[in-house]
Symmetry: C2
């Protein structure tokens, strides 16, 4: 079990992470893959003790009044642990980004210049009570050559401690430092605060979870952050939008998995298409259990739609709620998006190529689409094999992040005595 | 002159920057180049009024006790203004990064996926009383499609106001919004603080100047920052380092321009090479006016060397000072670098290819070199045509930054009705 009785300080742990990261930075892909296979085996072998630790967290969570949704996200059983192990094995098959050549040239003075991918070093993760994130992030960090410092939700502390012990044992079993994977859950809220201040010891921080958690990290962290997350996602049905395609894309975007960030929140409809499209759409959405809110124009066309407020335009419901607004043209649609979007994903449905290309060029979001479901904004769908998260900031990474987004670069200069004139 | 009498609020200005940035994001390269040529012409045409405003700053600076070095950096005359205009014209000739295709693929379901370069949107710059930075950053921002919000040192406020008015007029003359270039100098220190909190209105902040200015921005900013700067730069002379090459590289790295961040601060020497190299090196360095500090081993070999302290290992002197340490092997050299470097640039001088490649692989700095002067860490030398700064962080950009480092990316997805299964 965990060694919190004689716990080192948080700084001690971060210094140990840094030292461990140095050993991993030059490890071969073969060694890292061996470590990942050992992690998968250790998780499967540890099923009973992991489930037991998880049971303690679940009992405490029930006593503490955790919602059934949160309890379900927290729960691990043999099947879920097997799926976690399989996900780790999947990472074995992904290309190792470390050492990839990004650019290179020979300068006029003969210097050979190459820019290569290198690990960040130490990656911090702050997330909520979802034990799968513990395993996911640890596996992705190991493959990309990074040490990882994990701060999970306190409701999963026993589960995470057990998972991390298994992972550490597996990492050590192939000759890599166990400190490549550490949890700082034992330091509580203060630990999260200190992690956000550990500039120099931690190279990048990735928050995963609710909008409020991400907002806290983004605002308070002195360590560079990759902001992931919140999606107030829009579909715009242009004047020429075909009915069947509109229904397919809106339904899929809204109801296929409403609880995730790439699900649709606000539907914008060109006023010349509203009477043609909205009645059919409303029937289909309601049949799928969606609650509709709309502006006055929408409510005139579709009886029984609730009145939408500004709060609705701004909110990521993550549930079967949809806000609808009728707009005079594509400019008004883009103005609404500029005002209310979290710049995650927006899609236009249109038959008109010029309008499609204007929308794709002018909408300033991580992913802009024409005639496709917003649910495609996903590392797996994009062909990355795995997803670290979806960045909604513009620095470093934007949109779905794969393993290369967990790396930095360095410049290597090879000379034979050149000096500057 | 500036319109500070009826000044809008800082937030008003940032909102105006955001609106202006939208117009620029889709501007053609031709229009941006036309704007840059107009800026260069306006600077030359405005020489008299710029020099007059600068004279007021210089008089105030002298009265305020500004050092002669700072006054020199602040001073503009006709020749310097012409050089600034020429630098703007040089940016015209650089490739426009906006719209460049980074990656692309066709997914199995037929979706066409492309990742293209887009401007950040609004770039903030916080810097000291160097009016050339005002013009430099404005030109680089315009070419890369970004609006820019400038906060220069208060000692250059009149000069900057005049420069910005000229630039705004030139930008407006080609039909682009003047608000693409704004100064917030009139808001004083509070303006800088508010700029650092303007997450959502400003996409990235670039501090340029002293280590303490950069440290303040890095620590306090809620806007993502690209940290540029401080260089405690090392050269390691390996056991096999040839004498002449060692002298060339150490002299060039230290004395060619000691006041810049890529200049050498600490020389590490393999103990098996110390007696062969140090006496000659010390003579040459002293002849060039360099003050030497060293550890005990160095002081035994070279009489008259001052005693180096830990503070010397940690300090970027930016002057003709050099710290010297004798180390038992390459591992000790790399350990010293890991402990004291700011991870800007490190170079090894060696004849041994295995040692060179170990150093290049294991030293974790923005630029690592074998057998070359550290002075080559420079956007111009790397062939970028211009330099935004040298990033010493690992997120987004590392090492010399060119125009592409002033851009983000977005994903464009083109479909024909695809939905997720």
């Amino acid at each position: 079990m965990s060694s919190t009785v004689t716990a080192p300080s948080l700084t001690d742990k971060l210094v140990a992470s840094r030292a461990a990261s140095t050993a991993l930075a030059t490890a071969t892909t073969a060694v890292k893959d061996q470590a990942l296979r050992a992690v998968a085996a250790a998780l499967r072998a540890g099923t009973d003790t992991i489930v037991a630790a998880n049971h303690e967290d679940l009992v405490a969570g029930e006593d503490g009044g955790l919602s059934s949704g949160l309890l379900d996200r927290l729960r691990l059983d043999a099947a879920r642990i097997d799926a976690l192990a399989a996900a780790v094995e999947h990472v074995v098959g992904l290309p190792d980004p470390v050492g990839d050549l990004v650019r290179g040239s020979r300068l006029p003075n003969g210097l050979q210049l190459t820019q290569v991918r290198v690990p960040f070093g130490v990656v911090g993760a702050i997330y909520e009570a979802r034990p799968n994130v513990t395993v996911d992030i640890a596996a992705l960090a190991l493959k990309s050559g990074n040490a990882v410092v994990l701060r999970g939700g306190s409701a999963a502390q026993r589960t995470n401690a057990e998972l991390v012990e298994r992972i550490r044992g597996a990492v050590a079993s192939v000759g890599l430092p166990a400190d490549l994977v550490q949890t700082i859950d034992e330091f509580g809220r203060q630990g999260a605060t200190d992690l956000m201040r550990a500039r120099g010891l931690v190279d990048v921080l990735v928050p995963r979870g609710s909008a409020s958690l991400i907002q806290t990290v983004v605002t308070e962290s002195q360590v560079p952050v990759i902001e992931t997350g919140a999606g107030v996602v829009h579909v715009f049905l242009d004047a020429s939008a075909p009915l069947e395609r509109s229904v397919d894309i809106v339904l899929n975007s809204k109801v296929q998995r409403p609880s995730v960030c790439n699900a649709l929140e606000t539907l914008l409809v060109h006023e010349r298409a509203a009477e043609r499209l909205l009645p059919v759409l409303a029937d289909r959405l309601r049949a799928a259990g969606v609650t509709l809110r709309g502006d006055d124009a929408t409510r005139t066309i579709v009886p029984g739609v609730l009145r939408a407020t500004e709060a609705d335009w701004a909110t990521e419901s993550m549930d079967l709620d949809l806000s609808i607004r009728v707009v005079p043209d594509v400019d008004a649609a883009m103005a609404h998006i500029a005002r209310w979007s979290t710049h995650h994903t927006e899609s236009i449905v249109t038959d008109d190529v010029d309008t499609a290309e204007r929308f794709l060029a002018e909408v300033d979001s991580a992913v802009v689409m024409a005639n496709a479901s917003t649910r495609f904004t996903d590392g797996g769908e994009f062909g990355f094999g795995a997803e670290v998260g979806i960045s909604t900031q513009k620095l470093h990474a934007r949109g779905p992040m794969g393993l290369p987004e967990l790396t930095s670069t360095k410049w290597i200069v090879r000379g034979h005595g050149q000096i500057r004139g």
